[in-house]
Symmetry: C2
Subunit: 152 residues, 2 copies
């Protein structure tokens, strides 16, 4: 499907089914079913992913995927990428909402030169992550770069 200006429109579909208490499953054809619950803070079951978790993780993963696409395009060889994320849900302007999502990516590259290039590409990814573009929360990135030979 295309919109008025000829840009493609992408659709993402899935299903939710309430199972019991504050729990449900999400499903989509060909994908593994996932049990989800309210977080324990909101009377949910510990040990299950919550919608808040999925929301925050989607920003984290989308930033990585954007970085991988740009790295591929620019022939940057990535050795490793891990990223912890923290999303803050707080009362703001009369409603609870996510106000800030902070990513702490730890990137490993082959050389110092690659690390410098990765820094630029990560900034580009931050500015063009389509999920960050879709939310009201401020997305902060606090990166750490390591060179493989000196990586611990």
């Amino acid at each position: 499907m295309e919109n008025k200006k000829g840009y493609k429109v992408f659709k993402f579909e899935s299903d939710v089914r309430w199972t019991q208490a504050r729990e449900c499953t999400i499903s989509a054809p060909g994908k593994p079913e996932l049990a989800v619950s309210s977080p324990p803070e909101f009377k949910g079951t510990p040990g299950l992913w919550s919608p808040e978790d999925l929301f925050v993780a989607s920003v984290n993963v989308c930033t990585l995927m954007t970085f991988l696409a740009y790295s591929h395009h620019k022939n940057l060889l990535l050795v490793g990428y891990e990223c912890s994320v923290e999303g803050a849900l707080e009362y703001s302007n009369g409603k609870y909402r996510f106000t800030e999502i902070t990513l702490h990516p730890r990137l490993t590259l082959k050389t110092q030169e690659d690390a410098e290039r990765a820094r630029e590409i990560l900034l580009d990814a931050q500015n063009n992550c389509l999920i960050s573009n879709s939310i009201l929360a401020q997305v902060k990135i606090v990166p750490d770069f390591q060179v493989a030979s000196s990586a611990t």
Copy 2:
């Protein structure tokens, strides 16, 4: 933690680790690890959840969880709730972003009176879903209500 006005601040944390190609895992202590990929449209692996899927599903699940919390508070007995969701990602104001998320919940209640109460509670849930409050996309709900004895 509390913010300046005494409202509690909730934090949601998880980790992402790049595994290969356009794939990664998300993890959090005590929760099942989840493999995630770019969607096939963006060179990812079919059959895995994408960040776009997780984002759209988080809106769907959060609406359900808000509805369940309000139903509990108002002593409404729910028989069944299933909801398909469609998120539209399109080019808007110079960037790709999610512009519209449409939920099609199918609720089953015990009586017609309960169905009418569920309609009001669902509207309340729509207006107070904390993830819908956190995004730029318009969230539309097109509900269908059934009474258990007449449910197919």
